[in-house]
């Protein structure tokens, strides 16, 4: 189980290559990567603010909950803060389990909770100004399924 909150870019492929390696009890690995989209072509960059101290604690608590609910052999959460350009990876989660059901469910759970319960706030800076990304009702609703 590990958590990293960092300003520096990271390479999800390389992280995944080093994740849960050398274990003989892992049959399934699921990863998610969140990437800065630019649907309109107008996004200059994204700024991600976070709450140092609380962020790591909140993520660790979410991860502990996932481990308690599913048969996980390992898990990883990396989340960036600061300025990110379109196409850059914002964050990733990875889960390792014996079977795919646990690995998928835990990864989706981690994502749903990271979206709405980890103290990050996204601001989009476009050619015409800057604005905070509003939380989506469906993200809050997604928590209801767990």
């Amino acid at each position: 189980m590990s958590v990293r909150v960092q300003a520096e870019p990271f390479d999800p492929g390389a992280e995944l290559a080093g994740f849960a390696r050398g274990r003989r009890d892992v049959g399934a690995q699921v990863s998610f990567a969140g990437i800065v989209r630019d649907d309109t072509g107008d996004l200059k960059h994204m700024e991600i603010e976070h709450y140092p101290g609380m962020t790591e604690k909140a993520i660790a608590a979410i991860e502990a909950e996932a481990v308690a609910r599913w048969s996980l052999k390992d898990s990883l959460v990396i989340h960036r803060h600061g300025r990110l350009a379109p196409g850059e990876t914002i964050m990733m989660v990875a889960t390792a389990a014996a079977h795919r059901g646990d690995a998928f469910a835990a990864a989706e759970f981690l994502m749903d909770y990271l979206k709405s319960r980890a103290p990050f706030w996204k601001k989009e800076v476009t050619g015409s100004g800057a604005g905070w990304v509003a939380a989506r009702d469906e993200d809050e609703d997604a928590l209801g399924r767990w």
Partner: protein, 82 residues
């Protein structure tokens, strides 16, 4: 004395990331009322507390939570991580 932190647009509206507040407020809601009474920028930031979240000592809490023993209170909009 409580350390009060502001994030995202709450921080922007109030104009500072954190401050030490001398208060006798019993609950978070009481603290919010004290802050709102200070200046229009606080009143603007706390106009709609349904749009805000609060953390007490770095754990999510509620506006009716007691402040006794709390060292750090943070106000911010709903989180948009991931």
């Amino acid at each position: 004395m409580i350390e009060v932190l502001y994030f995202a647009w709450v921080r922007e509206r109030i104009g500072l990331p954190k401050e030490r507040v001398e208060t006798a407020a019993v609950t978070v809601a009481d603290l919010v009322e004290e802050l709102k009474a200070r200046e229009p920028r606080y009143a603007a930031a706390f106009a709609d507390t349904a749009a805000l979240r609060v953390a007490l000592d770095q754990e999510l809490g509620s506006f009716d939570a007691p402040l006794a023993g709390v060292r750090e209170v943070a106000f911010f909009p709903p989180m948009t991580g991931g």
